[in-house]
């Protein structure tokens, strides 16, 4: 019993319980809709993990939402709500395409150039939103939403320009192959490569049938570095101080405006990077006309909140999210069940992870019940601010407790 109580007090308990509840709700919905939940879930796992190729695709899908998730979590810990991740992502794709098409340096220089310029695009857009907040007090949610749409139409505009439009398509010209970041893009299609891969079927499956690229490694490194930046550096200390209590930070001589701009700049960098890596890493290696938001930024929000806004926690959260989406397509194919069920499941998970204070409270109730066995505990609706449960809830937000 004590182990259970201790477990419930940990932040990760909320995440695990939320996922379990998400599956339970999905099972009910599936059953009501007339699909066997067991077989549907089997199809889900088969579709996400059944073949090396599927696993590779889950990782590929997880890459951009891991980065936008880290961006949102990072901003959240500094007291900002970066709902503009989507726009900063698009800015990254646009600039990556322009630079990747315009220049054609040898691969190492080209890759670096494209990545840096795309990340910079996201950074500048983020910093712009931060500047508007710091200088004029305009709420970042408003400017973020506006820049999202500006970026969407800017993207469509660039696609339509003569310099970049690919004839008879809705896309721009793909970037030069020197900018690709797939694993061994040329070798794997060469005769020697194919001959070698024929001996190792799983590797062939992964390399030839997917765009497996280095993006996920970069994203994981970014998640870890972002965590260290927040928890262990002077800059991170100031950013968090401003995020948790702007007045006290100002009072303590910390430049609040500078820190707001910096926080949005860093958050925007991660989103821009997400955009670049999708251009360099997966076909069609270019931007296309988009009718509506693709959701890379918004899915980042979900990832960040499943992770309790811990940047490192975004790594498993993004894999879970990508696995559900990718595996969900199989549920549709095999069972004929609408993939909306997966959306319901994700929604439920996010909903329950958004209640970080519930699990420690549950721990308190169990503790009391075991302490005074037979004595029914009175309902506790009010929670005084001194309650340890709430401290813990706050602690989750600041991310240090992420995955203990």
């Amino acid at each position: 019993m004590n182990t259970l109580i201790r477990f419930l007090r940990k932040p990760i308990a909320s995440a695990i319980v939320a996922v379990a509840v998400g599956f339970a709700v999905a099972a009910v919905v599936l059953a009501v809709a007339g699909f066997a939940p067991g077989r549907s879930f089997a199809a889900l796992f088969q579709g996400a993990l059944g073949r090396p190729k599927y696993i590779a695709n889950v990782i590929i899908k997880a890459t951009p939402i891991l980065l936008t998730g880290v961006a949102v979590a990072f901003a959240y810990q500094t007291g900002l709500f970066n709902i503009g991740a989507e726009g900063q992502y698009i800015a990254g794709t646009i600039v990556a395409t322009i630079v990747g098409v315009t220049f054609d340096f040898p691969a190492p220089i080209q890759i670096l150039l494209v990545i840096v310029s795309g990340a910079l695009a996201g950074a500048l857009l983020g910093a712009f939103i931060g500047f508007l907040k710091a200088r004029f007090g305009i709420h970042e949610v408003i400017t973020s939403i506006m820049t999202n749409w500006i970026m969407l139409y800017l993207c469509n505009f660039i696609v339509s320009t003569d310099a970049f439009h690919k004839t008879n398509s809705t896309s721009a010209i793909p970037i030069n192959p020197s900018g690709y970041t797939m694993v061994l893009p040329n070798w794997k299609r060469s005769e020697a490569g194919i001959e070698f891969l024929n001996n190792i079927p799983w590797l062939k499956d992964v390399l030839l049938k997917t765009d497996l690229n280095f993006g996920f490694l970069i994203a994981v490194a970014v998640a870890i570095l972002a965590g260290i930046l927040l928890a262990r550096t002077e800059l991170g200390y100031e950013l968090r101080a401003v995020g948790h209590n702007r007045d006290a930070a100002h009072f303590a001589g910390i430049n609040v405006e500078k820190n707001i701009i910096l926080a949005m700049l860093i958050s925007g960098t991660f989103c821009g990077l997400a955009g670049v890596l999708n251009i360099t890493g997966i076909s069609p290696h270019t931007i296309t006309t988009i009718a509506a938001m693709e959701g890379y930024g918004f899915n980042g929000l979900s990832v960040a909140f499943i992770a309790g806004c811990s940047t490192v926690g975004c790594i498993p959260a993004s894999l879970l999210f990508a696995g559900l989406i990718y595996g969900g397509m199989t549920v549709q194919q095999v069972m004929g069940a609408p993939s909306d069920i997966i959306s319901i499941m994700i929604g439920t998970i996010v909903f329950f992870t958004a209640l970080p204070g519930v699990m420690p409270l549950l721990a308190d109730v169990i503790e009391r019940r075991t302490a005074s066995a037979g004595d029914p505990p009175a309902p506790h609706t009010e929670v005084p601010p001194e309650l340890p449960a709430q401290d813990r809830a706050v602690r989750v937000d600041n991310g240090k407790g992420g995955e203990e």
Binding site: R232, E234, Y237, E238, F251, E386, P388, V394
Partner: protein
Amino acid sequence: MEVSPEYAVQMHGIVKRFGSFTALDHVDLNVRKQTVHAILGENGAGKSTLMNILYGLYQADEGAICLDGEEVGIATPTDAIRHGIGMVHQHFMLVENFTVTENIVLGDEVCGAAGVLDMKRAREEVVKIVEEYGFEVDPDAKIEDISVGMQQRVEILKALYRGADTLILDEPTAVLTPQEIEKLIEIMHDLVGKGKTIIIITHKLKEILSSADECSIIRRGVSMGTVDVSKTTETELASKMVGRNVSLTVEKTPAHPGDVILSIRGLSVKDERGIEQVRGLDLDVRAGEIVGIAGIDGNGQKELVSAICNLARSESGTIEVDGREIQNTNPRTSLDNAVAVIPSDRHRWGLVLPFTVGENLVLERHGEERFGKGLTLDYTQVNAFAHELIEQFDIRPAGCEEHVASGLSGGNQQKVIIAREVSASPRVLVAFQPTRGLDVGAIEFVHKALLSVRDGGAAVLLVSFELDEVMDLSDTIAVIYHGKIVGEFAQGTVDEGQIGLLMAGGGAK
């Protein structure tokens, strides 16, 4: 417990738990009819929790409540009001731009046919109560135009209008001037004479002695008994409340003032709404002395402190520290000129609550070389530094450098701020309401800390709404009224009455 109708309120065996924390542990309370009954306790002792249970804001886990000798169930404030219990909270719940009458009837409006407000009849009813109890309140005045003492009377009227027989007053004197406190005590006795019963929650011993008939003491959620106020002393009450002997008077040696360190000339500061609150203020604070600013809240104290720590712009005038002008720069400049500030609102200005105690203790100096290795913040150094301060300033629990600041008690949170500011070896220490909400034990600690800073040769500016504190601690007492210093006195040359008069704007300069 013997249930008897001679008691207006009897609470028996009240237990209240918040999670694993027991706020009240089998607390008993017996309040005789037509008396003023004080509830005394340190901060967090559970006195407000007990009253919130009586008023239906909280539910007791165990125990019974009897009113007039009959057991009742009180689940909501509406139940409490129905049973004739009224409560005046420490922070008034009044609508600023409504009139007195409108505020009194709010939530219990007099309506004519089809739900149309009948303000004429409402006003008549209000006038009737005002006259019945002899309150000098204008029913047509707007709340924003009347004094704090008047506002409190409106709160009491609100409860009486709803038919309260038992009134709970939560820290009623916290915001009042000495004259207003006297008036309040008069009103309380008057109400008792007219058949009402009054319960006051307080940690001020003097007021208990001058107003209450009986006093129940709660220490850490446990009843420490009830005493007859006429047969007790301040010292006895204090030791019962804290559980040890405390010194109630400030023991200080004479000051040895040196050169002027903080010099303010012709300072004008506006508040957030653009209204001038500090109006051409002059003030000098010398090395090795405490200058105390006495005044009622809202006479420019907040803006004065804000200007010194550069949170607010100075419209005109100068603020000099050691001859260097620091006005209209930024908070960093104040810090760099060795101005340390203990802010009035520790949660808003003083601490980052989700940060650890260690992180909070380096809040103003995390940029110093000893805490940084290049870009990184050296948490080993931070925690070692914090550990030392925690021991030196007796911040509890011991070794709490990695605890979250929000988990500390109010007194210990204040100690964190004081440790940080005092250890910065300031030239000027501004203490704004440094003992707000603290109990006698913690107040003693804060006062000693301020005196040690003074004796270390710094200039100390104490700004407090507690007149006793200013009178006891300051070497020089300066009275602020309407944004100006209207009188300066050496300690011991003036009494509370004179100061109180100046604070209220009376008396020639």
